[in-house]
Symmetry: C3
Subunit: 147 residues, 3 copies
């Protein structure tokens, strides 16, 4: 199959479905709902980042990390927005999806100037739960400044 | 229904349709076509923002506001781009759609440096007109710096 | 047909398909794969920009230009990300697609601060190759600072 063929293999409904998943997931994170955020990962989900010495593994660890960061932002009066985009997906034979995206983190201090904080890539392995909803089984975030 | 289920309820065609609507709408705004922009709202459409003391109500008010802002930007030699993204939609029983997005406003002065101007959220109630085209019935924009 | 009707004419699968194409294309460019990048244009594809005195025509010219720019970025320790968004598409009777997008170029120096580098528009004529994959037949990039 030529490299330029749609990675979705004609499954374009999947593309919108995963865009919707990411939007919802990031609204949860930026809205400070750490519990619901953690539930968008599999129970043994992995969140790795080149900015962190070790990956966070499992929902409770992922929840606690998000909760801590959110508390810091609240103290600093900072509203953070995670934009995921340029989503390149590949459906795998077992129904899981590899999703490669760019992420842009936009910070706005209360009463201050919005600005780009970070540019990263985000490589996810997505799987469906028993109800068909998408979950992140494995996420790898690479900050462009730390490459 | 679990929170992580696709908010589109399987209606993934809707997701792309509304992305296309927003893209077209923002091209009209940033291109300075205030008349066509106003027509993307219902006749009694509401545009509220936490930066404005009062909402703009109705197409003529919405048109006049866009026209005034565009004239200012032209005078300042400023090209403004409205990016909507991270779109989280919910289809309602009556066929209307709640669309929660992030907006990023990028300003470029003539001969100058492009930069993020504002980060906001944008919560819309979208309805179809008699031809099936989407219109904004109610928009609420909240600037992150003014939260 | 009213201006606000979906430009896709109900062909919402097409919208996701082209989003996927652009994501893949930009990952190739930003990843430095100039060969594969050039193959996303038609053999006689045209890349014109208001920042360039002359358009680049043909895959080899397009490849060489991307390769040169990538080498510069590598030397400067710069990671560049091309975001395309706000995609407004129109399917033409012959099956080709006009795609009008906004582009945002985000630069991150190694160990430094990510920032918006440029805001542009990107107007493409897209055609299918013999396998149904999308190719850019004609691209016109207009930098907002040079309008």
């Amino acid at each position: 199959m030529p490299y330029s063929a749609p990675a979705t293999g004609g499954n374009t409904a999947l593309y919108a479905e995963i865009q919707q998943f990411y939007a919802h997931q990031m609204h949860l994170l930026d809205g400070g709902d750490a519990d619901a955020w953690a539930q968008t990962f599999t129970p043994d989900g992995v969140f790795a980042a080149n900015a962190h010495p070790q990956p966070a593994v499992g929902r409770e660890t992922i929840r606690a990390a998000a909760s801590k960061v959110k508390a810091q932002h609240a103290e600093e009066g900072l509203q953070v927005r995670h934009w995921l985009g340029m989503m390149d997906i590949t459906e795998q034979p077992d129904g899981s999806v590899l999703a490669r995206t760019y992420a842009l983190i936009i910070n706005t201090p209360r009463g201050g100037q919005a600005a780009v904080s970070l540019s990263t890539t985000c490589d996810d392995l997505l799987v469906r739960d028993e109800n068909g909803a998408w979950l992140v089984a494995d996420r790898k975030v690479v900050r462009d400044d730390l490459r």
